[in-house]
Each structure stands twice: as structure tokens, then as C-alpha cells.
């Protein structure tokens, strides 16, 4: 079969990404432009405004990086959800327009599935248990009978959000979590913080509240708080992941999503994989944050297994759950 090229647009939150993937599993382009809020967290409308202003440049840069023209594109994929409505809508609008203009099929991609698929591709992991952790998601999942089943997830806020908000309140550099990780290295004394695991599910909001209270009380060293917050949050992730790994007996453990960039979390996951005789995989940095390549690659997998999203059914799905997606390419 001839090489098929898929262009993918990612716009679930603050990152606008365009990627181009081939049916041989090669990523030809992966370009990104990130909206940075002047103050506070991501404002969906402002982020969407950024995306619509930047999409032309990012598209052009991706095509240039891939050394292909618009007419070489065979499929257009876009992140259909879950995510922030205004941001999703911007990406979807561009994708629909591109598909109609080029006369090629459109494929809507689930953002969480894309994080798993790019991790599997880049790390060459066949059938891993996956911990997907980012600013918007905290999910322990694995493939079983046609779908990515959710073994554990957060009951309230995602772990990345917990770290980001703490970092922001502590006046650390935006986007927060990387600076928090650096400070944590200088932590010496462990500060007890609430540890909340419910069966296979997690809760981070109490941990965040307690950490913020301690931060504002001024009685604790910031570095110690950063270290302790990370340790508690990651130990919670470790416990649930370990249980799911023991339960499913999967041969590998894949760490994906923005928080996968954290070295401490990586070392915890490596230790757990080793303990259970599983191989440990970490998504490479360029694919850990939200990116267009993962949408392009997942869109391609879906397209090749027969999935099409007609333009008149391509509504965005801000609440689209990972386990609702039929994983047609793994059957």
C-alpha cells in the first residue's frame, strides 16, 4: 500500500499543535505554539483566541518541517475531546475547513487515546499498562477487549493541576511543575500531607488544600513542601499503578502525558515495573506534552482501520471519556 499521510491538529487546552505522521509510523512534523496566560490559569477563551491567531503559522511550519505540500495530505485528524470547549472548537473548525478544501476524509481523535498511542509508538511498547498524567488527566488504563479500560482515575482534580496550582500560588515560574520539580530536589525534611487512595481511584484536592495551607502559613520551607507534595502525589500514583499492574499482569508499564517529564515520577515507575517484572517505558519529552503528532498518528491508525468522522457529525466532545472509544486498530 502507498504511504498515507495524516495531518493532526491538537487544541484541547493551552497548546496548539500540528503534526504530520506517515502510515509507516514516522513523525514527519511536530510543531507547537503555547498560550501563556498573563495571570492565573488557562482562560479558555483567551487560549482559543491565541490558537486562531497562530494556527496559520503552525500549519505552515509543520508542512515545511515535513517537506510536503497541502496536497500530499491524505487525511486530516483533530482532537475532538476531552478538553476546553473554545479551544477544541478552534482546532475542529480548522480541521473541517482543511478536509473540505483538500477533499480528504476527516477523523476525530480522542485526546487521551492519542497520548497512549504516541507513547506506544515512540517507546515501542506493545501492550502496556499506561499511566496517563497531565494537567487535565490522571488515568491508569490498559487495553482489554476493544477498549482502553480505566482501572483507576482521579475522583477530583488531575495530579498535574494539583502541582501547577501549588506552583502558581508559591510564585514559581510558569508553567510551574518543572520549577517545582527543581525546587523539590533541595527538599530535606518531609512534611506530612494527606495521602488519599480509594481503592483504585485517587483524590488530589485535599492534598492541594493542605499543601496550600502550609505554604501560606509561612512555617515551612518551600523546598520541603515541594518535595513532600511531589512525594505524596507520586506515591499515590505509584500505589494505584502498582496494584493495576499486579492485577492485569501486563508485560510493560508506560508513562505518558505532561507529568511524564518528571524525573522523580519516572524513577518511581521504573522501580514498580522492575518489581513486577515488567518493562518500563517513558514517552519522549517532545511527545509528553500535548502535541499534534499524537493526533496525526492516532488519526492515521483510526483511518486505516476504517474510522471516518463526517463533517456534519464532527461536533467537539468536551467530555469524551477514554473508555468510550472503540479501539478499532487493535482488534
Amino acid at each position: 500500500m502507498d504511504r498515507v499521510l495524516c495531518l493532526g491538529i491538537e487544541s484541547t487546552a493551552d497548546d496548539l499543535g500540528v503534526g504530520i505522521a506517515t502510515s509507516e509510523g514516522v513523525i514527519l512534523a511536530n510543531k507547537r505554539s503555547t498560550y501563556t496566560p498573563e495571570k492565573g490559569g488557562i482562560h479558555p477563551r483567551e487560549a482559543a483566541r491565541h490558537h486562531s491567531a497562530q494556527i496559520g503559522f503552525v500549519l505552515e511550519a509543520a508542512l515545511r518541517q515535513a517537506e510536503v505540500g497541502p496536497r500530499d495530505i491524505d487525511v486530516v485528524a483533530f482532537s475532538q475531546g476531552p478538553g476546553m470547549g473554545p479551544c477544541l472548537r478552534t482546532g475542529a473548525t480548522v480541521a473541517r475547513a482543511a478536509a473540505i478544501y483538500l477533499g480528504v476524509p476527516l477523523v476525530g481523535v480522542n485526546h487521551a487515546v492519542a497520548h497512549i498511542e504516541i507513547g506506544r509508538l515512540a517507546a515501542k511498547a506493545r501492550d502496556p499498562l499506561t499511566l496517563f498524567v497531565s494537567g487535565g488527566n490522571t488515568i491508569v488504563t490498559g487495553y482489554e477487549a476493544g477498549r482502553y479500560r480505566i482501572f483507576g482515575e482521579t475522583l477530583d482534580i488531575p495530579v498535574g493541576n494539583c502541582l501547577d496550582v501549588f506552583a502558581r500560588e508559591a510564585g514559581l515560574l510558569y508553567p510551574g511543575a518543572p520549577d517545582l520539580e527543581k525546587r523539590a530536589l533541595e527538599g530535606k525534611t518531609f512534611v506530612p500531607l494527606p495521602y488519599l487512595v480509594k481503592g483504585m481511584d485517587l483524590s488530589f484536592s485535599g492534598l492541594l488544600t493542605s499543601a496550600l495551607e502550609k505554604l501560606h502559613s509561612g512555617n515551612w520551607r518551600l523546598e520541603d513542601l515541594c518535595m513532600s507534595l511531589q512525594e505524596v502525589a507520586f506515591s499515590m500514583l505509584g500505589e494505584v499503578t502498582e496494584r493495576a499492574l499486579a492485577h492485569t499482569g501486563k508485560p510493560g508499564l508506560l508513562l505518558t502525558g505532561g507529568v511524564a517529564a518528571n524525573k522523580r515520577l519516572q524513577s518511581i515507575m521504573r522501580a514498580i515495573a522492575e518489581e513486577h517484572g515488567a518493562k518500563s517505558y517513558v514517552v519522549p519529552l517532545e511527545y509528553s506534552l500535548d502535541n499534534g503528532a499524537m493526533i496525526a498518528w492516532t488519526g492515521l491508525l483510526a483511518y486505516l482501520s476504517g474510522v471516518r468522522t463526517p463533517v456534519n457529525e464532527s461536533f467537539i466532545r468536551p467530555k469524551w471519556r477514554l473508555d468510550e472509544v472503540e479501539v478499532t486498530w487493535l482488534r
Binding site: 487546552a13 476531552p82 482521579t154 493541576n161 506530612p192 481503592g199 512525594e231 496494584r243 522501580a271
Partner: protein, 233 residues
């Protein structure tokens, strides 16, 4: 620590603890549950988690008995070694026999399990890890709850809701063929102990928990957006 007369035999290793069967211990067949050290946790956190969970589990196993739920007899709680020595309950793990049961029998079991969970909740105990792997059926057809590792002493509707949510979630993921009918039997048994009103309250909570767990990014956006729109003129 009391002396052990025969060499212990490890019979199970979970993610959190290992179980040893000690054939002769003051003349009894004894199960030792030892919580494992986790190298990936900082030592302070690791020690406090293991000790806390050991004491806590022992206390709750005892309280569950008072509430009318069959649990193993406790012999010794060795906190520094984070080990509980308890009765070895002989029987079959419910999860493993469910497929072999007749529909009627299965529904009866879930009806009884619902009642037992109701008794726990009524006594202010939430289980925290309700799965059919933690329940044992003895020869006399008594259902034992054997793992209270994540249980809590609380009367919060939230935590009761999480318990039932876990039960439903477990049914959907491991026994999906008959999940729905089993859960409704379970709820019936639960209702008989907890009453109509309290049950309805918990069921509402389950729905809320499911909504909350599911659509995180969306909810975050709304909160954030609201907060910020106040700052934007």
C-alpha cells in the same frame, strides 16, 4: 513478638502486603499479613503509611465484627513489623466462584453482600476497596470480609458513595455480563439495612462521584473561567 513454631509459608503477595500461612501458632492455623516496605516511597511516608494502615486495619476488623459482619479473629498486631496475625479463614474467594453459580444464587449472594456492606456503613465503617476478591465464602456458606486495608471509620455520605461506586465499577470491569442485575440485588440488600432514605442519598452520591470523576478538564475550565471572567472588565 510471640514465638513461631513452624516455618511460615508465603501464600500470596499483593501489591501492598504479603500473606504468610503459619501452620502451627499456639495450636492454630494462622495468617500473617505483613505490609511491604516500598523503596520508591520516602522512608518517613512509607513507615507512617504501613504503621497507620496496620493499626487501623486491626481496629476495623474488630469493629466490623461488632457490627455483625464476619471477619477473621485477630491474634496479634505487631506494629513495628507492620504485621497482623489473624485467623486463617478457609473457603472460596467469591470472585472465583461467581461464574459457576446459578443466577438465583448469585443474586442471593449480592443481596447478602449488600446487607453486609449496609451493616458496615451503619456502624460507621467504609471499606475503601470493595471487590469480590476480598470476600470469602466458607463451607457453612458464611460470607467473610477479609481485607480492610483501605477501610475508614467515617459516616460521610461521600465515602459511602465511593464504596458503592467501587463496587459497581468492579462489577462492570470484572463481572460485566451480569453486573447490572447483581448491583441492583446488592442495593436491595443494602437498602434493607440502611433504609430507603439513606440509600437514596448514597445513590445520589454515586451519580455525583461518577460525574465528577469523569469530566475533569471540563470542570476545571468552568471554575477557572468563572474566576477569571470576574477580573476581565
Amino acid at each position: 513478638m510471640a514465638s513461631i513454631e513452624a516455618a511460615p509459608r508465603r501464600i500470596a503477595k499483593g501489591a501492598e502486603a504479603e500473606l504468610f500461612l503459619e501452620s502451627l501458632w499456639l495450636g492454630k492455623s494462622v495468617l500473617a499479613k505483613r505490609r511491604l516496605e516500598k523503596k520508591y516511597r520516602v522512608p518517613e511516608l512509607d513507615k507512617s503509611l504501613r504503621e497507620y494502615r496496620t493499626i487501623h486495619e486491626a481496629e476495623i476488623i474488630h469493629r466490623a465484627k461488632e457490627a455483625g459482619v464476619s471477619t477473621p479473629i485477630l491474634y496479634l498486631v505487631d506494629v513495628p513489623c507492620s504485621t497482623i496475625y489473624m485467623e486463617y479463614v478457609k473457603g472460596k474467594v467469591i470472585r472465583k466462584i461467581l461464574d459457576e453459580l446459578s443466577t438465583e444464587k448469585r443474586l442471593d449472594f449480592f443481596h447478602r453482600i449488600g446487607g453486609l456492606v449496609g451493616k458496615l456503613h451503619r456502624a460507621g465503617i467504609t471499606h475503601g476497596d470493595l471487590t469480590t476478591s476480598n470476600m470469602i465464602l466458607t463451607e457453612e456458606e458464611r460470607i467473610y470480609f477479609v481485607d480492610f486495608g483501605l477501610a475508614e471509620l467515617t459516616r460521610e455520605v461521600e465515602k459511602r458513595g465511593v464504596d458503592l461506586h467501587l463496587m459497581e465499577h468492579m462489577l462492570m470491569s470484572t463481572h460485566y455480563r451480569y453486573a447490572e442485575e447483581c448491583f441492583s440485588s446488592f442495593l436491595q440488600g443494602y437498602r434493607e439495612i440502611m433504609g430507603e432514605e439513606a440509600t437514596a442519598e448514597v445513590v445520589r452520591k454515586i451519580e455525583e462521584i461518577e460525574r465528577r470523576g469523569r469530566y475533569i478538564s471540563e470542570r476545571e475550565v468552568l471554575e477557572d473561567g468563572d474566576e477569571q471572567s470576574k477580573q476581565v472588565p
